[in-house]
């Protein structure tokens, strides 16, 4: 269980995190989502006591992280995969970390086995691929067999097989009753791994909800209608808050009306429908919709940019 209360962090003039409150519960994978620069890593560093909050507080299992006598057993963390001295072998890196709380060598061999690094364990980390570095980061998070895991962008740099592996690993860990918090800026990944979402943008909380709820609640929500009498239906549906687009002759994309209402109107007019499908916004779209105002660096809208290029040429 991770609880943040009115957490804020300023670096000089810049506010990295502002008044952030959330709870990460055990038993489910919680996704920590936000565009780059939204304050995810800062928040995670505060959870681990690496950065001190400017105001507010965050506790892990009821205590500030630094107050735990055996921190590696409370929280396993992977903060950016490369928090590892490149001159040391993977095995020795884990051995040194394990020694801080007297974790035996046997457990080091175990976690190396779990993350599938046996062959590379005696090689120096400097020569590791990004994916191997991620696996080593996860191995160090698992060392103390902790009840809480905090992973910053764990799928970055993994190949598809590795992504599938970590997805299953995290779900298993959550199913065992652990608290799992992982950050990502990739929505699509989150929809497959996480059940709960905490979304932040520019250091502020945007949403704290289940993944299903998040998609449902997001804007969009148009209805796809297919019928031979598309033109007639279109006139019947017309209204002040309704917009109807049509990509094909027999297909309408209707926004502003529920599928129930459209079905009723069509039935009343005796129009046969071949298809009536509420379109769920994808997680990606929902996320972009929510964070549009909260991205720190935004590309200029495309058309003016193109126009400028045209002028230059």
């Amino acid at each position: 269980m991770i609880e943040a209360h009115a957490l804020s962090k300023r670096y000089g003039e810049r506010a990295a995190v502002t008044d952030l409150s959330f709870t990460v519960r055990p038993g489910v994978v919680t996704g920590f989502l936000g565009p780059n620069g939204a304050g995810k890593s800062t928040t995670m560093r505060m959870i681990l006591g690496l950065d001190a909050p400017t105001s507010g507080s965050v506790t892990v299992n009821g205590k500030a992280y630094a107050r735990h006598r055996a921190p590696l057993h409370e929280v396993g963390a992977m903060l950016e995969a490369r928090a590892i001295h490149t001159g040391r072998t993977a095995y020795n890196h884990l051995l040194a970390l394990a020694a801080t709380t007297g974790i035996p060598q046997r457990r080091v061999d175990e976690v190396i086995e779990i993350v599938g690094l046996r062959e590379a364990a005696r090689k120096r980390v400097g020569g590791f691929s990004l994916g191997m570095g991620q696996r080593l980061g996860i191995a160090s998070a698992l060392l103390g067999d902790p009840a809480t895991l905090v992973l910053d962008e764990p799928v970055n740099g993994l190949d598809p097989e590795g992504i599938l592996w970590i997805r299953n690993l995290l779900k298993d860990l959550a199913a065992q009753g652990r608290t799992v918090l992982l950050s990502s800026h990739l929505m699509s990944e989150m929809s497959l791994t996480a059940e709960h979402l905490i979304v932040i943008g520019r250091g502020r909380l945007i949403a704290d909800t289940s993944v299903a709820e998040f998609v449902r609640g997001a804007a969009g929500g148009s209805v796809r209608v297919r019928t031979e009498e598309a033109d007639r239906l279109r006139t019947l549906l017309a209204g002040p808050d309704v917009s109807v687009a049509s990509a094909e002759r027999s297909v309408l994309e209707v926004s502003g009306l529920t599928s129930d209402r459209i079905g009723r109107i069509a039935a009343d007019a005796g129009i046969a429908l071949a298809e009536l499908t509420p379109q769920l916004a994808s997680l990606e779209e929902a996320f972009m919709e929510l964070t549009r105002d909260a991205v720190e660096f935004q590309a200029p809208a495309r058309e003016p940019a193109l126009a400028k290029e045209g002028q230059a040429a």
């Binding site: 560093r45 681990l48 006591g49 690496l50 950065d51 992280y65 630094a66 735990h68 006598r69 055996a70 921190p71 590696l72 057993h73 929280v75 963390a77 903060l79 950016e80 490369r82 928090a83 590892i84 001295h85 490149t86 001159g87 040391r88 072998t89 020795n92 051995l95 040194a96 970390l97 394990a98 020694a99 801080t100 709380t101 007297g102 974790i103 035996p104 457990r107 175990e110 086995e113 779990i114 993350v115 599938g116 690094l117 062959e119 590379a120 191997m132 696996r135 160090s140 698992l142 067999d145 097989e161 599938l164 592996w165 970590i166 299953n168 690993l169 779900k171 298993d172 860990l173 065992q176």
Partner: protein, 277 residues
């Protein structure tokens, strides 16, 4: 690298006994870190080679030229210091490695893993400083002894050597090891204060080598009072056989040098506790 199915992570019962972080455990962890980096061996080897090799070289040179030395040169000749001259170069290697003990972790990001494992932080600094000082003391003391014995062996061919039992000689030989130990300590402390390899190294050697030269420029009425208190000048009075004017007495000087190291370490501890990692 091909475990697609995630194995249950906690298949085994409580895999790790729920041990607490203790200073002894952090010491053990830092010892593992220190001995598993190649740079530790190479840098300490470089320090030993400088210490022993240069001493042997100067002694050989002196012995072979002794016949052509004029009386003035013969009067100035000091067998103990000639055989230990290499400590001046060895301090470079030891200072650099001291800085790297800390900044190597900042440069690679390892420091965040370290401080997450030991969130009270100070045990890490004590362990690094204590371990490194102990290792340097052993290496530098053994190195100084070898350099001295080897050098005197070479000089004895011309009957111009000395022995450990001569007045002040043992103090100088062991003093070289102590001086280098504090250089190492200062390196660790400054590394922790600056947190950047280039900046840390520049600061250590600015303090030890450049500052004394700059202060030479002071009018002698000031320099005579001030310069003996500068870190390396104070420390090197332990590695001087005959007391000279305007220098501190050997053990006073060494105590002053040690205090510089401890104050820097205290400053590093204060900032380590306060700063974001």
């Amino acid at each position: 690298m091909s475990t697609i199915t995630a194995e249950p992570v906690t298949s085994t019962a409580p895999a790790a006994p729920r041990g607490q972080v203790t200073q002894a455990r952090v010491l053990r962890s830092e010892w593992i870190k220190m001995r598993t980096l190649r740079s530790t061996f190479w840098t300490l080897a470089a320090a030993l080679i400088a210490l022993i090799g240069l001493g042997a070289l100067f002694c050989t040179f002196t012995a072979s030229r002794w016949a052509s030395f004029n009386p003035h040169e013969r009067a100035d000749f000091e067998p103990t210091l000639t055989s230990l001259r290499g400590y001046f170069l060895a301090q470079l290697a030891i200072g650099v490695l001291g800085v790297l003990m800390i900044t190597g972790e900042y440069a690679t990001g390892m420091i965040r893993a370290t401080l997450a494992a030991v969130p009270t932080r100070l045990p890490v600094l004590w362990a690094k400083a204590g371990l490194y000082a102990a290792v340097v003391w052993v290496v530098a003391t053994v190195g100084s002894l070898i350099a001295f014995l080897l050098g005197q062996g070479i000089l004895s061919s011309k009957h111009i050597g000395t022995s450990l039992s001569a007045p002040g000689v043992a103090r100088v030989v062991f003093g070289a090891g102590l001086y280098l130990t504090v250089v190492g300590l200062l390196g660790v402390a400054i590394g922790a204060l600056i947190r950047n390899t280039a900046g840390g190294i520049a600061t250590v050697f600015g303090l030890l080598l450049v500052v004394p030269v700059l202060f030479e420029a002071l009018p002698s009425s000031w320099a005579n009072h001030v310069n003996q208190w500068l870190p390396s000048n104070a420390g090197q009075s332990l590695v001087t056989l005959h007391h000279q004017a305007h220098t501190l007495s050997p053990w006073t000087g060494f105590t002053v040098f040690l205090l510089y190291g401890l104050v820097a370490l205290a400053g590093a501890a204060y900032l380590l506790k306060r700063r974001d990692a």
